[in-house]
């Protein structure tokens, strides 16, 4: 009997290890031979810990499980109170287009044979047999844009590095994932690390880079452990190393760990950190593509950008480009979080509306109260009111509405949310996390907190100052930390002005 229990950090945070232990002991007690396989997460976090049993018809799911629910799995699984039927038929999964996350939650993340058996390595095999220029062309033709926030076309970035002449070039994977509401990078690294490694190796072949780094935030100990182990295995098996799949291409990979600084997700700050310096932002130009790590040509890409690459190489640029809308092509792994009934990861083509995401897929709020605001794209993203629910999820529409999609994390807030507090939090976060290099961000954010405190105290004259301050931060900051903090602040103010009015004394 084959039983699957996730080893993903969110599943573990909800008790998956205890459930796995209960599976082992209940099976022993009943004398049933069980093969327990720990997988990544399917992404239905509200159902974690999700247990699956293999049947002739396919895998069947049970969740959310507690250790006490386990023994009954061995009696009459069909009538188990937590039975959910065939996993693949659960609407939340069935409605997705899972390309990047196809294997996540399905296989043992460190089983390279299972990785290959489920389609892994096909992209890399094609890449080693293709001219670098043509690999770059393929990625460019797919329409893939950076998933880390800025949405820069990945093919163009790679082409710049390919044509740069230097004795050593680098691929740096940005796994700093500091945005609240985001966890796709974590899930992928924990649940299917070889996909990321394959994407990085392809990037190396395409650009002539022979050394790669994955910079993972220290808040992700599980992802760090899995990536280190996967790197060891991939090197041992010749997937990477001195000769990638027996070819003339070499690609060495090293896992590095951040040290608790949000700004180190910004690419130039990340490069400084990787070099062992304070994580301060560098002025651009020069672009990292030309003068990146140690001043040498460097591709800096988000986890999801790189993890999309193997599928594109295996299935062709056109197949990827066929999905999506406008200039937002392919799939986007949405992360639905906060006060929401069905929170988790939902990979789908661009173009789905915000309302569908929050209401149909997310099921509305967990509290059952009406939705008040949805922050899209992390701490630098705008607070969208329900009247924005017709917006299609893509780079252009959100930019047009004074927002951004960022890393595609969505945080739902119900009626209880106090938008003035959330605006103040955005300023405070910026003040704490500012690298300190530019004044509008370092000082502006501190003034922002003080000014919002005046608003709270009933000083209506402080409101125009907020607008001015945001303008200065937008125009004068060196990077998007100071530059985009005005998004959450001003969207809160514009969309929910009543929360910024002087508090009415309770009429007695």
């Amino acid at each position: 009997m084959k039983i699957y229990v996730p080893i993903d950090a969110a599943a573990r945070a909800c008790g998956a290890d205890m459930v796995a232990a209960a599976v082992v002991s209940a099976a022993a007690l009943k004398g049933i031979e069980v093969e327990l396989i720990r997988t990544g997460s399917r992404g239905m976090v509200w159902l974690e810990p999700l247990v699956e049993i293999e049947t002739p018809a396919g895998r069947t799911a049970f969740g959310p499980m507690t250790p006490a629910d386990v023994p009954a799995l061995f009696d009459a699984p069909e009538s188990h109170p937590k039975a959910l039927g065939l996993t693949e038929e659960i609407p939340f999964l069935k409605r997705q287009t899972r390309l990047t996350f196809a294997r996540c939650g399905v296989i043992d993340p460190l089983d390279l044979a299972a990785y290959e058996a489920t389609g892994g390595m096909a992209g890399l095999r094609r890449a080693v047999a293709t001219k670098p220029e043509e690999v770059v062309d393929e990625i460019a033709a797919s329409g893939l844009r950076g998933r880390g926030g800025a949405g820069f076309p990945t093919g163009i970035k790679w082409r710049t590095v390919l044509h740069a002449k230097a004795p050593q070039k680098y691929i740096v994977c940005n796994a700093d994932e500091g945005d609240s509401g985001s966890f796709a990078d974590r899930m992928l690294m924990e649940g299917d690390p070889f996909t990321l490694i394959e994407g990085m190796a392809i990037a190396g072949i395409a650009t002539g880079a022979t050394k790669g780094f994955v910079y993972i935030r220290s808040e992700y100990p599980d992802a760090i452990r899995v990536m280190r182990e996967a790197t060891r295995i991939a090197t041992r098996e010749g997937m990477i190393g001195a000769s990638v799949l027996g070819s003339a291409h070499g690609f060495d990979l090293e896992i590095r760990v951040g040290a608790g600084a949000y700004v180190c997700g910004e690419e130039t700050s990340l490069l400084n950190s990787l070099e062992g310096k304070r994580g301060v932002v560098r002025a651009k130009p020069p672009l990292p593509a030309l003068q990146g790590f140690m001043g040498r040509p460097t591709v800096v890409n988000n986890v999801l950008s790189l993890a999309a690459v193997p599928w594109i190489m295996a299935n062709g640029a056109q197949a990827y480009h066929d999905i999506g809308v406008g200039r937002s092509r392919g799939t986007i792994p949405l992360q639905i979080a906060g006060n929401v009934k069905f929170g988790g990861l939902f990979e789908t083509g661009f173009g789905i509306t915000l309302g569908e995401i929050v209401n149909d897929i997310g099921g509305g709020t967990a509290s059952g109260r009406p939705v008040k605001a949805v922050q899209v794209g992390g701490p630098l993203g705008a607070y969208h009111p329900v009247s924005d629910f017709n917006l299609a999820f893509c780079y252009e529409e959100f930019a047009g509405q004074g927002g951004l999609i960022g890393h595609a994390g969505l945080v739902v807030h119900d009626e209880a949310a106090d938008m003035l507090s959330l605006a103040r939090f955005a300023m405070e976060f910026c003040a704490v996390e500012s690298c300190g290099k530019c004044t509008p961000c370092r000082i502006g954010a501190v003034r922002g907190v003080e000014t919002l405190d005046r608003v709270r105290a009933g000083d209506a004259a402080a409101l125009p100052l907020i607008e001015d301050l945001c303008e200065t931060m937008k125009l004068g900051s060196l990077c998007a930390l100071g530059g985009f903090t005005p998004y959450p602040v001003l969207s809160a103010l514009r969309n929910f002005p009543e929360d910024f009015m002087p508090q009415q004394e309770a009429a007695e």
Partner: protein
């Protein structure tokens, strides 16, 4: 109450020089080795001892001030050891949306201390997102992650660190 006691520079740990030398040797030749070195030292001692700065600076051809500047920049690196139990409560947006402020108040009450304090065996600090935003509110107790932090989970944490 013992906040001051922990922030005062601790006495240098035993075998400091040998341990620092071993860590430096393990990273010799690595590009940009400073953060990996600091992480290893903190794993070894529970903090980055100021007494190690000169040796690090010499090995990496930096000034002592540069090493201190890097240690000071990052939230993770400690100048003094944390308590035996470190509880990190997420205070970022998704956890706020799930009643994070009330969770903080309940946790503070259960532990009898405020966020940002160290008392006896326990350090309670804020963290900004643990990637558990779909099972918020979330916390980290030692290296164990806890999601869906409700009253019984808070009670269990308080119990655990009292033991």
């Amino acid at each position: 109450m013992s906040v001051a006691a922990v922030t005062a520079p601790p006495a240098p740990p035993a075998h400091l020089a040998e341990t620092v030398a071993a860590v430096l040797a393990a990273h010799a030749g690595r590009e940009g080795a400073l953060l990996p070195i600091l992480h290893d030292l903190q794993a070894e001692f529970g903090y980055v001892p100021g007494e190690s700065y000169d040796a690090i600076a010499a090995a990496l051809r930096l000034s002592r001030a540069e090493v201190a500047g890097v240690v000071g920049f990052y939230h993770d690196f400690r100048a003094a050891p944390a308590a035996r139990h470190v509880i990190k409560l997420c205070r970022a947006e998704a956890c706020q949306a799930m009643g994070g402020a009330a969770t903080q108040a309940r946790l503070e009450r259960a532990l009898g201390m405020k966020l940002g304090e160290t008392q006896g065996n326990v350090t309670l600090e804020a963290v900004y997102c643990l990637g558990l935003c779909a099972c918020a509110p979330a916390a980290m107790v030692g290296d164990r992650l806890v999601g869906r932090l409700d009253d019984s989970a808070i009670e269990a944490i308080a119990e655990e660190v009292r033991a």
